[in-house]
Amino acid sequence: MGKFLKVISVFFVLCLIFIPGLYADEISGLKEQIKKVQSENKLLQEKLNKQQEVIDTLVKKVDNLQAPSLQKIPEPEMPEESGEFEIPKLTLKGFADFEYQAKLTGSEDHNTFSLGEVDFFVTSKISEKVDFLTEFEFHPEADTNVADFHLERANIKYEAADYLNIKVGEMHTALGYWNQEFHHGSWLQTTINRPEIYKWEDDTGGFLPLHAIGIYLFGTHELNNFDLEYDLGVLNGRGKERHEIQNMDDKNNFKALSLSLSVKPDIIEGLSVGAVFYYDEIPENPSTASRAKQIDEFIIGENIVYKYENLELLAEFFNIFHDDKTSGKDYDTFGFYAQAGYKIDKITPYYRFDYIDFEQTNPYFTPYDIDIQKHTAGIRWDIFTWNALKFEYSYSDKKTQENEQSVTINTSFAF
């Protein structure tokens, strides 16, 4: 058995050695044939690729020929316009407010919803140094229950430099801080209502001549350690009655003169201290016997304003001297307000005290010469960027009328 296995093993080894030699020529022939076939395939593939490229190019050309509308046609370059017929652009903005008020007096309680002022203002840049501004509003009239259209401001301003500007037209008189800061934009002011001394001429106000038609020179001079601001005006002045604004025609030839000065020290940012001087000859009113002759008017005002970060402190004082040429008497009227507010995030609690002391029987102010002491406390909530809710309580001590309390909720906004 062992011998047999040895013979088989030797035979197997000999087969492994000699059999490949018998077929070597045939194997090498086959390898050459494979190589030849491979090279032929490669040539054929290259020819096919070239033909495919030619076909793709032709297809594109055919597509373009069949659909000429899809071709992109380059737009011609537009030449720049000269702007010869371009007029200055207008910018329109506005303010409005609505409110609910409950009024409590000794003899009568009353509550109502009411429309506030709906105020529009338009600005336009006429040239680099010339601006136009106009303000007009629908002013609610409580007596007639309608809103009348009023033109409040319309003026053109020429800027020469920081220290010299000229404004011509109808404007709010530069008598103090409030009249120049808030105008008819109730949203801008912290409180709902204007101070008593700043009530409009056509309301129950007219304490001060708040509207003016004429010309103002104004600007800011930078001096050592402080800035000096000035407003020098020549104006039509007051009409023959306290609510009359002489828009079109001055009833006398004398022009009111107004000078306002304020100092802003560099050392205390946000502080402004100012003084106002105003002189006018109020024309006679032939329809009233007590107003047969003119009244000379001299107004002196002082104001202190401190607005820094979240704090607002305002105080303005006015003395109005009237020299009545009909009776020969002099009248001295005094009024002021002081207001404080501090903003905490979106909430601003505030308080204001108003005071007016008329010298009785002044023919120009009668019958609106009602002395008043008024306390106003409230909260302003800037609920959105351009919208504020105001909650206000006020108590008015009127010497010749019943005292009055009121609670008002007001929403005011800019648009």
Partner: protein, 144 residues
């Protein structure tokens, strides 16, 4: 008492001028602007448009960044000392008073701010220090 007085003077006068010392924001002007340095108080007036003309008589055109940017946040805090909402009210009030005709121009990036300042002779703006290049000029504040 004297120490308290000195401290108050420091807080009111000196401290604001150091605000820009370690800032990464730079004030930029047009390269034709001859001004190289501005006092901090004057910078505040320029940014509030209380000052509207350069010393050479050219009108100042203020460029602002859009709300929410770090550049805008910087000027709100260091120059205007008010928040975004109060600044909007401030500008509307200026327009309403007739001090300015429209809101300042607003830009979304340092690059567009630089292009505006580069093209407008009287322009002033602000960018981050790393965005600075030779198309605009740095206006130093209190020499810093």
């Amino acid at each position: 008492m004297n120490k308290l007085f000195i401290l108050i003077i420091f807080l009111l006068v000196i401290a604001p001028k150091l605000l820009f010392a370690d800032s990464k924001i730079v004030i930029i002007v047009n390269k034709e602007n001859s001004l190289t340095n501005v006092a901090y108080d004057d910078l505040v007036k320029i940014f509030k448009q209380d000052k509207k003309y350069w010393p050479d008589g050219k009108k100042i055109y203020l460029a602002m960044h859009e709300s929410g940017s770090i550049e805008k946040k910087f000027v709100l805090e260091k120059i205007y000392k008010m928040n975004e909402q109060d600044l909007k009210k401030f500008w509307l009030s200026k327009i309403f008073k007739g001090d300015i005709e429209s809101f300042p121009k607003t830009f979304a990036s340092n690059d567009s701010m630089k292009i505006f300042v580069n093209r407008v002779t009287g322009a002033v703006g602000y960018i981050t220090e790393e965005a600075l290049d030779d198309t605009v000029k740095v206006l130093k504040v209190e020499g810093i």
